[in-house]
Structure formats: C-alpha cells, structure tokens
Amino acid sequence: MSQLSVELPGLQLKNPIMPASGCFGFGREYSQFYDLSKLGAVIMKAATGTERYGNNTPRVAETSSGMLNAIGLQNPGVDKIIANEVPFLAKYDTQIIANVAGSTLEEYENVAAAFNESKHVHALELNISCPNVKEGGIQFGTDPSMAARVTEVVKRASNLPVYVKLSPNVSNIVAMAKAVESAGADGLSMINTITGMQIHLSSKKPLLANKTGGLSGPAIKPVAIRMIYEVSQQVTIPIIGMGGVTNAEDVLEFLLAGASAVAVGTANFQNPFVCVEIIDELPKVLQRYGFSSVKDVIGKGVSV
C-alpha cells in the first residue's frame, strides 16, 4: 500500500485517487457499487450556507469526449451536510474533503467555519471557480486579488487545510495560483470546468437551461495538464489534479505534470467503478513506466 500512499496537508492518502466534487454526491450512491474505504479520499459535492435548488433543467449535455453541466450548486446546505452526509462517509476508512462554495465572502466564511464543527472533515476544497453561479461566485475565480481575499477569509475561519480550486477560464493561471498561495492556501485543486455551450438545433436555443455550462471529461485533459505543469513550477504548495482522468495512465500523466493526487469526475458517470479500477491498475502502470511509487512520479515530467 505504501507504494501508492501520499501525504498532503491534512490528508493521509492511502492512494492518490479521489472522486471529484459534484460527481460523487456524498458517496451514498457509489457505496452500493464498492467499499468507499478503497478510495484515497472523497471530495463531497459543494456546500453552501443554506440549501440551494440550483439551475433549471436540462442541466447536462453531452459533447465530443466530454460533457457540459450547469447544476448550479444544488445541495442541502452546510448544516444538513454535516448532520447527515459527513457521518455516513465517516464510517469509511478514507479522507473527507469538503467543497466550500458561496456567493459572497460571508457565505464562504460561514460555510468554512461550519465545517470546524465536524470532526470528520480532513480538508476544505475552496470552490471559487464554479462557472454556473450567477450571484458572484464567478468573480472570485478569475480575479487574483478577489481569489486571495476569499482564501484569506476562509483560512481565518477554518481550522482545516484549504485547497483552492482554480478555474481554467483565465488568461493567467500562474497569477491566480500565486495569489492564493500568498494568501495562505495549503494546496491547489485544478482544474474546474471550462465554460462552454451547446446549441440545440431543433429548438434553436442553448440546450442547457442555464445557457452556459462547464465542460469536463477527456476533452479538457490537455488544458488541465498544461495548467498543472505551469503552476507546479511556480508554487510550492501541492496540487490535486483533475480534468478528464479515465484511467491509470492519465493519473501518471497528471503526477508527472506536478500533481500530488488526482481526482476523477465525469468518468464516474460512464463507469461507476472507475476509481477503484484505477487504484487497482496503478501499481502495474507505475511498474510499466519504471516507477517504484506514486511519490516517485510526482513532478518528474517537469523540466529541470
């Protein structure tokens, strides 16, 4: 097992694989398929201060090697998540990461503070990049100084390590990463979805009720790899990488680019077993490419 293990701030991962936020709910549904204790960690669906219904449907569309989603942060609110969802996940021998979202600085602060009350959450993922929230969440994700501010506020409010989840919809990802690092982020999580749209030919209208949605899946992997490669050379905090991972070779590519752990999102929809299959495959793939452990791979693709 130690061949696959990785330590990150607040997280003792038995392996570097975790489902990405929003693609695994709070774990209940996938627990019918396999024992969640196999996972390095679980990143929960975004939590906001109060319950949200989210956007109208349709909320998803299929694209070439990818999909668009505009769920709109539907969730039962942080208190119910702490009361009902975290205890369920805590029964498993895995690490729990809470995805924190909001529309205002205060909401972020409140959600982060609320998770202090839960003994079972190991780290926060600060979602400043959800492109589907209109009230203002988006501005945090594309402006370095706003991103730094929300990071500071959440760091102050929280006892837990904070991984800031970056949006790829920016001109300069390195500037965003450095801004949140300076503001005290313990790690980064990248990338969130790329804003896209599909127009439904028959109705002549955007297919998603929200019009735009976030593009995820294999289509965006090259963008994720590029951003992680660029950022990992400019920051000292670790990166949880994601964007289009579907197999263990993809994981290797993310680790080489400089990620220290890897989240799997969209691929769960196609194959509910994808996370465990990747975990099972990983030792073979490490060996095939001449590595003795996951730690051994991290950042090896970054030029010296």
């Binding site: 709910g25 349709p58 909320r59 299929e62 929809f269 194959n271 509910p272």
Partner: protein, 250 residues
C-alpha cells in the same frame, strides 16, 4: 439494487419507424427488475450513458426487452449493435411503478416512445387479474408498435396525431369517453403528461418522467424535478422515474 452488468444482445429488430426492439439476456436484471425501471446503457464513443426503460421481462429466458427510438447519436449507434454483442448497463435503475392492491381497472396512457414501460406494467397488472384499458398515442401509422401486445392485455385504443391510423388527435381526446377505472399510469412527452395530469386531476395517477442524466444513480443532481410540496425536489433517476401525478411540478 443497481448493478453494473454485462448483457448479451439476443435480438435487435426494427419494429416501427426508427424504433428498435432489443432483447437482452441477463440473469440478475431479469430476475429483479420491476415495471417502470430502466437500464442506463453505455454506448461506445459516448461520454454519457443512455437511460432506456425496461419494456418487458421474461424470467424463464432470463431476458429483458427494451424498445428505443433512434433520435440522436447514441440511439443511432445503439441501433448498430447486433445480436451476440454485449452491452454494459447499470440496472435495474429507478423506483418503478407503484401498484395498488385495491385497484381493479387501470388505464395506461402512453405517448410514442413513452409506451414501452407501460407494456411491462400492463403485463404485470394483467397477471394480477386487473382489467386494463390502454390508450396509446403515436405521431402517425408508421410509428405504431405493440398494438397487438397491448390488445392481449385488454381494450386498446390507438390514436395518431395525423389520423393515419386509429383515432385522430391526442390521447387526451379519447380519455374522457372511457369507462370507469381506478387509477391511471402515463408515460410520454412532457406536454402530453401535462395535458393528462390536468385533465385527470381528480384521478389517482402515476407518471413516468424523462430528463437528461449524468450519473443515472442519484449522485450528480442533473435530473431533478421540483416537487409540489415543501421538500423541494426529486431525482428522476433515483426517486423516479415514476412519481404520483400530484407529487411533482411538470
């Protein structure tokens, strides 16, 4: 419980315009599926699975029948699969139709590709000795399927929008003139379901809904529908696809 299963395609046939009937062999699903549940089918080269209702189950041959319409890229690809090939499906998914012991006559109202789940339901209800009336709407004559199958279950009225077969118009044009029934079950396009539930407000009824899905298991919040009551919403893939007619806001 939903499982990820391999099913073997035993037959695949076009039974009406753009409409494919596929017989799939799988022990687990054929033994556990109830009417109204669906399969979430992986189609190669497609990111998302396709939800398709279970139209019939045969526990002897261990087969499930699905009927689907070639509408877009995924269903067209699925139509290319031939007998002998395997499909990767999640299922049986969703809740299925609620069957009330006290009902003696039930009305099935199907529209187009919403007809298939009603067949599995109708067969089960018929086995339980209930009287069945079926009203099935299609665009036109070439789209009609399973008329004889439904007739074997009871009185069956076919309606086509263009009058090229059976009655002319919409299913709602004929349901007023039917004899008494205790409960209705309906599946079809949203406008049809809206018309049906409006017209039959005084009746007990169940409707099966469609929505674009991500996970198909209840994890992603793609397929929600608001409820009439206080408790907000339901997930069509997990809490549905069948809801009681007064439960959700169409």
């Amino acid at each position: 419980m939903i499982k990820k299963e391999k099913v073997v395609i035993r037959a695949s046939e076009s039974i009406a315009l753009d409409t494919i009937e596929m017989v799939l062999e799988n022990v687990y699903i054929s033994e556990t599926a109830i009417p109204g549940q669906f399969l979430h089918i992986y189609v190669d080269r497609h990111t998302l699975r396709r939800p398709i209702s279970i139209a019939d189950v045969n526990r002897e041959t261990k087969t499930i029948t699905v009927l689907f319409k070639k509408l877009g890229s995924g269903t067209n690809r699925l139509a290319d699969y031939h007998p002998g090939m395997m499909l990767d499906v999640l299922g049986p998914s969703g809740n299925g139709f609620r069957i009330n012991r006290e009902d003696s006559t039930v009305l099935l109202i199907g529209g187009g590709i919403g007809v298939p789940p009603l067949y599995n339901l109708g067969k089960t209800l018929a086995e339980q000795g209930k009287n069945i009336i079926s009203v099935l709407g299609f665009q036109s004559k070439e789209h009609v399927f399973y008329e004889q199958e439904f007739q074997r279950l009871g009185e069956t009225i076919i309606v086509t929008n263009d009058g090229s077969y059976g009655e002319t118009g919409f299913v709602t044009d004929v349901i007023d003139s039917l004899r008494e029934y205790d409960c209705y079950y309906s599946c079809g396009p949203i406008p049809m379901l809206q018309a049906v539930t409006n017209r039959l407000q005084t009746k007990k009824g169940y409707i099966s809904l469609e929505e674009r899905m991500g996970c198909g298991v209840g994890a992603c919040f793609a397929c929600v529908i608001p409820t009439v009551g206080e408790d907000g919403y339901r997930k069509i893939c997990k809490d549905g696809p069948v809801f009681s007619a007064e439960e959700v806001k169409l």
